[in-house]
């Protein structure tokens, strides 16, 4: 089974097909690419939980990156500290034991890699030309949805815990 088939298999066990009609094409493609990148660069032993849309989301740590252009979007990730540390170790193949600068760097590096590969995919398909802002790390934050839509929460379960990936479209395609 190649990685794309594996991605489809993982998504087929989630509510992706059911919720997809409520999501924009942009968000659907983002989710498919996210799972493919997680399988390729982090860990193939994952499952996707109940994908949902919410109007606000509170996270204890802000690990985020804005996708700029039209459409533009805000992407972020959130989880318990232990899960974030394990994810960082899994992705970077470094030994890390506490939530320090290396862990934060690894988390933002993954976000930047995945978002970069996503916008490259859209560019190659001549769908749109987007760019990225510098990834950010801050303290607790409350993410609220803009008038254009809701926040999509994508929970992905790894052997060491669940990481929630967030995507919120800020501006739709003209």
């Amino acid at each position: 089974m190649d990685m794309t088939e594996q991605t489809n298999e993982i998504l087929s066990h989630s509510n992706f097909e059911k919720i997809a009609p409520k999501l924009s094409d942009f968000v659907q493609e983002y989710i498919k690419k996210l799972i493919l990148d997680l399988v390729t660069y982090v860990n193939a032993d994952i499952s996707v939980g109940e994908i949902e849309t919410v109007s606000e989301y509170y996270a204890k740590k802000e690990l985020s990156q804005e996708i700029t252009g039209v459409p533009s979007a805000y992407s972020a990730m959130d989880a318990a500290e232990d899960a974030l540390i394990s994810f960082a170790a899994d992705y970077s193949k470094m030994e890390v034991n506490e939530y320090d600068i290396l862990v934060r760097e690894a988390l933002l590096d993954f976000l930047n890699l995945h978002n970069g590969l996503f916008v490259v995919q859209l560019s190659k398909l001549n769908i749109c030309e987007l760019s990225l802002a510098v990834p950010k790390q801050n303290g607790a934050f409350l993410m609220t949805s803009p008038a254009t839509g809701e926040i999509t929460v994508i929970p992905v379960t790894f052997p060491y815990g669940t990481i929630r990936f967030l995507l919120c479209e800020l501006e739709h395609t003209a």
């Binding site: 600068i101 490259v120 560019s123 990225l132 510098v134």
Partner: protein
């Protein structure tokens, strides 16, 4: 392993990316490697250190890689700059080449591709 004498300047805001590029260059036999984390530091370091090759990310704080490329080439039109970025969109590829970069490597960096590009740029 043969130790090669080219001097490299790696500019990336990600510590992980810098570590990984440094490890790859060392595995090729290069030992003279400088690291900075934003475009402004890349321009300043280039002027003081005159590296043989610059490996430059695009999305960075303070000064992005395309602007840094233009400024380095304004100072030294013969500068050898390779963009290394996760955002290899058609727009960025065009902008990088227009700014004067010699090549563009999409992240994650494939060892064989980096080796091939370096061989081409250094010769």
């Amino acid at each position: 392993m043969e130790v090669k004498d080219a001097k490299f300047l790696i500019c990336d805001d990600s510590i992980l990316a810098r570590k990984s590029l440094t490890a790859l260059l060392k595995s090729f036999g290069y030992t003279n490697i400088l690291e900075v984390s934003n475009g402004q530091d890349a321009v300043n370091t280039y002027m003081h250190e005159h590296p043989t090759v610059v490996l430059l990310d695009i999305v960075m704080p303070i000064k992005d890689g395309i602007t840094a490329t233009k400024e380095i080439l304004e100072y030294d039109p013969k500068a050898k700059i390779i963009m290394v970025s996760s955002v290899g969109t058609q727009t960025n590829l065009r902008e990088a080449i227009k700014a004067g970069a010699r090549d563009f490597i999409q992240k994650p960096v494939e060892e064989s591709l980096l080796e091939e590009v370096l061989e081409h740029v250094l010769n």
